[in-house]
Each structure stands twice: as C-alpha cells, then as structure tokens.
C-alpha cells in the first residue's frame, strides 16, 4: 500500500527565512503528487500539483516543489516565508496501478509557524 511521510511535524521560522518541507512516498510506479495548505480554522486548499513533465512545479503564493523520482521525494520550498504562511501543510500522493488511480493518501502534515 502507498504511504506518505512528512518527517517534520512542526517547523518554526522567522519571516524572510527560506523554507523546505520534506515529503517522501513509498510507491515505485506512476504517481500524482500534491501539496495542500490548511490555514488556521480553514479547509484544505491546493498549493500545487505534479502529474508529469518538468519536475520543478510552481504553485500559488510563491511556493514550489521538486519531484525527485530516484529519491521518492516531493519537497516543498519557498525562498522567503511570511507571517501569513503560518499554516499546516499536507503532502498527498495518488498512485496509479493497473491503469487506474487509487484515492489520495495524505501525509500527517507539517505545522509551520512563522514568527514576525
């Protein structure tokens, strides 16, 4: 069964610091990859997604992620975080098997706190 690991449970940064959140998945076949963000008290929203093509994906609000197939990773990055980026970030994977996709599997989430 596919699984998603987010090793950082809580990250605390100062404004303007650079961000990298780790995401690793366990599945050797074709995958679709997503990062979602959940601001305090709100629902999950899509930040970015990767299906195929350029492994460096740019999303909303200055976020980007790089798919490294050999490392089974899809790390999220932002060069300079803002206080408003304080939120929980979820990596999610959809694995393809036998020509169809399984449902999305979410990681446990990483809480990002940005200090003003």
């Amino acid at each position: 069964a596919q699984s998603v690991s987010q090793h950082n449970h809580h990250v605390i940064l100062s404004e303007a610091a650079s961000l990298e959140l780790g995401c690793n998945y366990s599945y050797g076949g074709t995958v679709n990859l997503f990062w979602y963000v959940q601001y305090p008290g709100q629902h999950l929203q899509l930040l970015l997604k990767y299906f195929s093509g350029d492994p460096l994906v740019k999303g909303i609000k200055g976020f980007e992620a790089e798919f490294i197939k050999s490392k089974f990773s899809f790390n999220l990055r932002k060069p300079s975080v803002q206080w408003s980026d304080t939120a929980e970030y979820f990596c999610a994977v959809n694995a393809w098997a036998s020509g169809s996709a399984r449902q999305l599997t979410f990681g446990s989430g990483t809480q990002l706190t940005v200090l003003p």
């Binding site: 979820f90 169809s100 999305l104 599997t105």
Partner: protein, 113 residues
C-alpha cells in the same frame, strides 16, 4: 465561484445521539470523499464515492457510521450512536476525477460530550 458546502459547521451533541452531516459537492463533480481530522490521527479517509456509488469505505467504522449519496448534489455521513471519540472535524471533498485535485469543504466540527 464553485465551492463544496457542508452543514452544519459546528455540532455539539451528547453521547448516544444520532448525528447527520451533509455535503453538497461542486456541481459536475462525480467523486466525493469524506475525511476525518483529529490531532492524534491527522487526516483519515472515511469513504469515497464515484458517480454516487461507494467505492471504498474501509476507513469507516461500519457498526456506527454510514455514508450515502441520495443524489448527485447531496452526500451524507451519519453516526449512530455517537461516542466522545468521534469528536473531530469532518471534511467533505469533491473532484471531477478520482486522481486530480480535490476541493474541500469548510468542515463540520463535531463535539460529542
């Protein structure tokens, strides 16, 4: 701007009572998902529908939970009887396919006393 809607937004009930949560997926979306979010367990998939048919409800405690889609515009999640350990935020999400972006609703915060 199309959104997934959920009602109620907040529900406080006593142990043993029946709870029904409702979700209206985005018009035209044929896949609907129910998730439960808690501090301890994170985000868990409870059930998954495609074209109103349940495809996977293995994440759902069968003895007390049930999920249905009476029509394409309404999905329901029912807990009977409710227990304190059911306290969580329940999210509904919909999508146009089973493998692309899911659009989440605002959630129902359930508290069972």
């Amino acid at each position: 701007d199309a959104r997934v809607t959920q009602t109620p937004r907040d529900k406080v009930t006593e142990m043993g009572q029946e709870v029904t949560m409702r979700c209206q997926p985005i018009l035209g979306h044929n896949t609907v998902f129910w998730y439960r979010q808690t501090m301890m367990q994170g985000l868990e998939l409870l059930a998954y529908f495609r074209n109103r048919a349940p495809l996977d409800d293995s994440g759902m405690p069968k003895d007390r939970f049930s999920a249905e889609m009476p029509d394409a515009t309404l999905a329901t999640l029912k807990i009977q009887p409710s227990e304190p350990r059911d306290s969580a935020v329940y999210f509904c999400a919909s999508g146009s396919t089973g493998y692309d972006e899911q659009f989440f609703g605002p959630g129902t915060r359930l508290t069972v006393l």
